[in-house]
């Protein structure tokens, strides 16, 4: 990946990540988040993680973000909300984030983090090498993940469904008013 492309993508990622937390409308936050995820996916591809980069686009920007969009529309939240939160909270949050960045710079900067540079083996990042690692070293974790997904599906359906016999409080309130 040429350096100017890294600078461009990095700036784009930071700006759109800021957009996520600055926009007042949740839909705009979501669009900024999709832009961030796309940019990070391109960075993945630039780092020779081609399969994971495309998975990021398909799974994150495709599936999970559509789920968010669906919930925002279902709950009718696409209205502009006024400024929320206290000024002290915003100051504290910004200060905490700035401190965190400084701390992470100190932790991650050389010479603490001297990774021995090795040449990537042939076929690094390909589907075959990913699957080879996934289905040998991480086979147990992979199988456990399927149980996790099943539990998540059952759990989310159980959480979001309306119990039979209980009235919808919103409908009841609408009738009462």
């Amino acid at each position: 990946m040429p350096p100017f492309l890294y600078i461009f993508l990095g700036a784009l990622a930071v700006v759109s990540a800021l957009g996520v937390i600055i926009q007042r409308n949740p839909i705009h936050s979501l669009l900024a988040l999709i832009a961030t995820l796309m940019t990070v996916a391109i960075l993945f591809i630039g780092e020779d993680a081609v399969v994971v980069g495309f998975l990021q686009i398909i799974v994150y920007a495709g599936a999970i973000m559509v789920l968010f969009l669906f919930v925002i529309w279902l709950l009718n939240l696409q209205v502009e909300t006024g400024p929320t939160g206290h000024l002290a909270l915003k100051l504290f949050g910004s200060l905490a984030a700035a401190l965190l960045v400084t701390e992470l710079f100190f932790i991650l900067a050389p010479p603490h983090l001297q990774v021995k540079f090795t040449h990537e083996p042939v076929g690094y990042g390909s589907l075959a090498s990913l699957a080879g690692t996934l289905f040998t070293d991480y086979l147990v974790a992979f199988e456990v993940t399927s149980v996790l997904l099943l539990a998540a599906v059952v759990g989310s359906v159980a959480l979001a469904r309306r119990l039979p016999g209980t009235d919808d409080p919103r409908a009841a309130r609408k009738i009462a008013s």
Binding site: L37, A49, I64, L75, T84, A96, V115, L149, A152
Partner: protein, 100 residues
């Protein structure tokens, strides 16, 4: 190849923006999006270090993080829908039942 420090710095910045979002914003959905932002920052660090070590482990862990994020999004949005149905709010400050 881009120096490792640059990639880690970008990852740190995006992570901190996610932390700030969770602290500052009071909309549960936007707080949730900030959590996704943090997960992605960590994924970026995994990919960067993995490609410099020539090891596939980083990419496999990113794969697992994505799976867990999908499960988390499904359950979390189910909880948000449930809260909204009962309380008609997605504002975190309005939910004070378990606060002292």
């Amino acid at each position: 190849m881009i120096p490792l420090t640059y990639m880690m710095s970008l990852s740190a910045i995006i992570f901190a923006i996610g932390v700030a979002g969770v602290i500052i914003r009071r909309n549960i959905l936007v707080m949730f999006m900030s959590i996704e932002l943090m997960l992605n920052a960590v994924n970026l660090a995994f990919i960067a270090i993995g490609s410099r070590l020539g090891s596939m482990d980083g990419q496999v862990i990113v794969f697992f993080v994505m799976t867990v994020a999908a499960a988390e999004a499904a359950v979390g949005l189910g909880i948000i829908i449930s809260i909204f149905r009962n309380r008609e709010t997605v504002h975190a400050d309005d939910l004070t039942l378990m606060r002292w």
